[in-house]
C-alpha cells in the first residue's frame, strides 16, 4: 500500500489547521456563557494598542518608514473608527498637520514629508482625513493638484503607475479611482481604458491578479472588482467565474486564504469578505434570472470611449461594433433604468443605498469565529493567524472584515439583528462603505463636503 509523502503545501496547511482547530475544539467544549466570553471582541485592549501606535513607534518601525506612515495613520484611525472611538482634538490636529507635510505641492501624498507622491500613500492619506472628518481635515486636501497627479500617473494602456516611473498594477488602478471617486473628481479621462486593463488581469481561475498573467489573488481581486464597479463596468468581468473562485477561498479554518491552496490569513477577511459585500449589491448577481449561455453583454472593444455603451447594468450594450463578443456565459441584465450619461461621482453613493436582496454567498458567522477566536492577540491588536505577531495592517483588515460580516445582511440604514453578530452584541462595529473601506458616517460627511465644494476647484485654504 502506498503512503504518499505530504507535499509542502499539505504540510503547511495541516500545521495551520492543527493550530486553528486546537482553538475551536477548546471553544466547543466550553459551556455557553464561557463561549460568549471567548467570542468577545477585546475592545479596550485593541484601542490601547492603537492609541499607543498613533503617539509613537519604536526604531524597529524604520523599515516601514518610507511607505507606511500615512498607511499607519489610516490603519490606526480606521480601526479606531470601526471601534467607535474618537481621537482627541490634539491628535486630530497633529494628524492633519502631519499629512499636510506629506502632501506634494504638485498633488498627491508621499510616504513621509518630502517624499515623492505615491498612489498608495495618497489613498491612505485621503482615507485617513475622511475618517477624521470635519472641515479642517477635508479642506486640507488639494483636489486640483491631486487630480493633476492622477492624470500624470495615468498610462495610455489604461492602468496607472504607483509613482513617477513606478510600477503599474491593479492596486494602482484601485487607489487612483477610489480616491478620485470619493473626492468627486473622477472623470472620463481617468476612467478611460481602466476596464480593459483590469479585464486582462482576470485569470483562468476567475479571480484577479496584480498584472496580466500573474496568479489570482485576494487583494487584487478586491481592488479590481471595486474599481470596475466605480467605473461602471463590473458586468464586463466574468462574474460567475469570479464568484466561483471567491467562494472557495473560505476554507475549513473558517477564514479566507488569498490564493488557491495557500494559507488562511486574517487580512483576507476584508479583501475576500469585502468582495462579497460588493457582489451582493450588483443587480446582475442578486437577481434571480436564467443564465443564457454564450451571451456576451460586454465587448472587449475599448475604442468606444463614450459612456453610451456603458450604461449601468444594461445588457448587450455593444453598439454593433465589430469586436468579439465575450463568451463568458455571464448574466444578462435587462431593463434597468439608469440616468444617462453616467455620473461617475454618484456611483459610490448610489451603490451603498441599494438594498441588499440576497443572502451572503460566504459563511459570515464562520468568518467571524475565525476573526474573534484566532486573530485577537494577547494585549490588543489583531493578527494573521495563530502564532503570528500583531501589526496595524492586520488590525485594520481583520476589524474591517468583522464589520463586513456583521452588516452583510443589513441595508445601510437598517439595524443589525443579533443573530448576525457572533459573540455578544457589543461586538458590533461601525458599518463601512465597502468600495472605499471608510466608516459609513465619515463617507457620508465627505460626500456632502466634496459635492458641495465642487470642481472647478476652489483653492481650499486651511484655517
Amino acid at each position: 500500500m502506498e503512503f504518499p509523502v505530504a507535499t509542502k503545501t499539505q504540510h503547511e496547511q495541516w500545521t495551520v489547521e492543527n493550530l486553528v482547530f486546537r482553538k475551536y475544539n477548546l471553544f466547543e467544549d466550553l459551556p455557553h456563557h464561557a463561549q460568549t466570553l471567548m467570542l468577545e471582541l477585546r475592545r479596550d485592549e485593541h484601542i490601547e494598542y492603537l492609541m499607543r501606535g498613533l503617539r509613537g513607534l519604536p526604531a524597529s518601525f524604520s523599515v516601514l518608514d518610507a511607505n507606511s506612515r500615512p498607511w499607519m495613520c489610516y490603519w490606526i484611525l480606521h480601526s479606531l473608527a470601526l471601534l467607535g472611538e474618537l481621537v482627541d482634538d490634539e491628535l486630530e490636529n497633529n494628524t492633519i498637520d502631519f499629512l499636510s507635510r506629506c502632501q506634494d505641492p504638485n498633488g498627491g501624498y508621499g510616504g513621509g514629508p518630502g517624499q515623492m507622491p505615491h498612489l498608495a500613500t495618497t489613498y491612505a492619506a485621503v482615507n485617513s482625513l475622511i475618517t477624521l472628518g470635519g472641515h479642517k481635515a477635508l479642506s486640507s486636501i488639494n483636489r486640483r493638484e491631486l487630480y493633476t497627479f492622477l492624470r500624470r500617473m495615468k498610462q495610455p494602456s489604461g492602468g496607472f503607475r504607483m509613482h513617477d516611473a513606478g510600477e503599474i498594477d491593479v492596486r494602482a488602478c484601485y487607489t487612483a479611482i477610489s480616491v478620485a471617486s470619493v473626492l468627486n473628481i473622477l472623470d472620463h479621462e481617468l476612467v478611460d481604458n481602466v476596464g480593459s486593463y483590469i479585464l486582462s488581469c482576470q485569470t483562468y481561475e476567475g479571480g484577479i491578479s496584480g498584472e496580466p498573467g500573474s496568479e489570482a489573488h485576494g487583494g487584487y481581486t478586491f481592488c479590481g472588482l471595486a474599481t470596475m464597479i466605480l467605473i461602471n463596468e463590473v458586468n464586463c468581468l466574468d462574474l460567475p467565474r469570479l464568484i466561483d473562485w471567491l467562494v472557495f477561498r473560505q476554507g475549513k479554518e473558517c477564514g479566507f486564504q488569498g490564493r488557491t491552496n495557500k494559507l488562511v490569513d486574517g487580512c483576507y477577511s476584508f479583501w475576500q469578505g469585502g468582495a462579497f459585500a460588493l457582489l451582493q449589491r450588483i443587480p446582475s448577481v442578486s437577481e434571480e434570472q436564467i443564465v443564457l449561455p454564450d451571451v456576451g453583454h460586454c465587448t472587449l472593444d475599448t475604442s468606444h470611449t463614450s459612456t453610451t455603451s456603458r450604461i449601468s447594468e444594461v445588457g448587450n450594450s455593444s453598439e454593433g461594433t465589430s469586436s468579439q463578443v465575450d463568451d463568458t456565459g455571464g448574466f444578462r441584465q435587462e431593463g434597468l433604468k439608469v440616468p444617462f450619461p453616467v455620473n461617475y461621482n454618484d456611483i459610490g453613493y448610489d451603490f451603498i443605498n441599494r438594498s441588499v436582496e440576497m443572502k451572503p454567498l460566504f459563511h459570515a458567522i464562520a468568518l467571524q469565529r475565525y476573526i474573534l477566536l484566532c486573530t485577537q492577540a494577547e494585549n490588543g491588536g489583531l493578527i494573521d493567524k495563530p502564532g503570528k505577531s500583531r501589526d496595524f495592517y492586520h488590525t485594520c483588515y481583520c476589524l474591517s472584515g468583522l464589520s463586513i460580516c456583521q452588516h452583510i445582511c443589513s441595508d445601510a440604514d437598517s439595524p443589525v439583528l443579533p443573530r448576525a453578530v457572533s459573540g455578544p452584541y457589543s461586538n458590533l462595529l461601525e458599518p463601512i462603505h465597502p468600495l472605499f473601506n471608510v466608516v459609513l458616517d465619515q463617507y457620508h460627511e465627505a460626500r456632502e463636503f466634496f459635492t458641495t465644494h465642487r470642481a472647478p476647484f476652489n483653492s481650499e485654504v486651511l484655517h
Binding site: A66, C73, G206
Partner: protein, 334 residues
Amino acid sequence: MSSSSSSDEERRWVPLRSRPEFSDVIPVEQDDGPNPVVPITYKEEFRETMDYFRALYKADERSLRALHLTSEAIQFNPGNYTVWHFRRLVLEALNHDLHDELALTEHIARGNSKNYQLWHHRRWVAEKLGTSATTEELRFTKNILSIDAKHYHAWSHRQWVLQALGGWEDELDYCQQLLEEDIFNNSAWNQRYFVITRSPFLGGLKAMRESEVCYTLNGIVARPENESSWRYLRGLYKDDNSSWVNNPQISSVCLEILNAKTNCVFALSTLLDLISHGFQPSQEFTDAVDALRISDSEQRDSDVAKAACFVLESVDPFRANYWQWYKNKHFQNA
C-alpha cells in the same frame, strides 16, 4: 545576522558629518512638524543618512557620491521608493554599469524579498540590460522560488522576463518539475497556463489542449481534492464552452470520482458547470449523485442538477448559500 558581503556592513559606521567627501553638504532634517503622529524613533545612523540624502535629493545632485549614499539609504530602508527612484536618475546621469544593481538587489532580497521597490528596480535594470540579462533573471527568480515556490513578486518578474526578454525553452519543464514536487502549488499551475498560452515555441491554447487535458486529468484522478487542477482544467476551455461540454473524458472522470464517494466537491461542481452549459447526464450520473445523499430526509430530486446542489449544500456547508444561489440562477426552471 546578515551574511552579506557588503563592505558597508563590515566597516564600522562612520558618521557622514565626519566623512571628508560630504564636508560641503548641509544635511536637511525631515520636516515632521512639531507634533508628528506615528513618529518613529529613528536610530542615529538612519536619521543622519536620510538627512544627507534629502540634501542631495533636493539639490538634484546626480553624482557618484549620491549613488553611494542611495546604497546606504536603501540598506537602512529598502522600501523607500523615493531613494530608489533617485538612484535610477543618478544611474542614468552617470551612465553607470548596471550589473552592480543586480548584486545590490540580490543582497536586499536576502534580507526581505517581499518588497515592491526592489522588484521594480530589478525590472528596470533588466529592461535596460536587455537579453544579456535573461539567463541571470531566470536564475535569480528560480533561486527565490526554490525557497518559496509561491513567491508572488518572483513569479511576476519571471513572467515579465519571459515576455520581454525570452527564455521560454525550458519553462514548461520547469513547471512540470515544480508540480512533481508539489502538485498543490497553484502558482506553478498558473505559470503552466501562462506558458501554454503564450510561449512562442508552443502552438497556443487550442493546440496544447489535448495533451494538457490528459496531463490534468491524471492529476485530478490522483488528487481529486486538489482545487488547482480542476481550475486549470476549466481554464483550458476558457471561451470555448461547447468543447468543454463535448469532451467525454471530463464527464467520465467526474463520474469516476463521484462513484468513489470521496473528495467529491469539485467533481459535483464540475458536473453542475457542464450541465449548465448543455451537458445531458446519463442515468449513471443520476445514480451516482443519488448515492451521495447524506440522509433520506434530504429532498430527492429527479433533476440531477438540483440533486447535486442539494448534496453540495450538505457536504460543502461553508458554501451552502452559494449552492442555493447557484441552483436558483441556473436551474430555476429546469
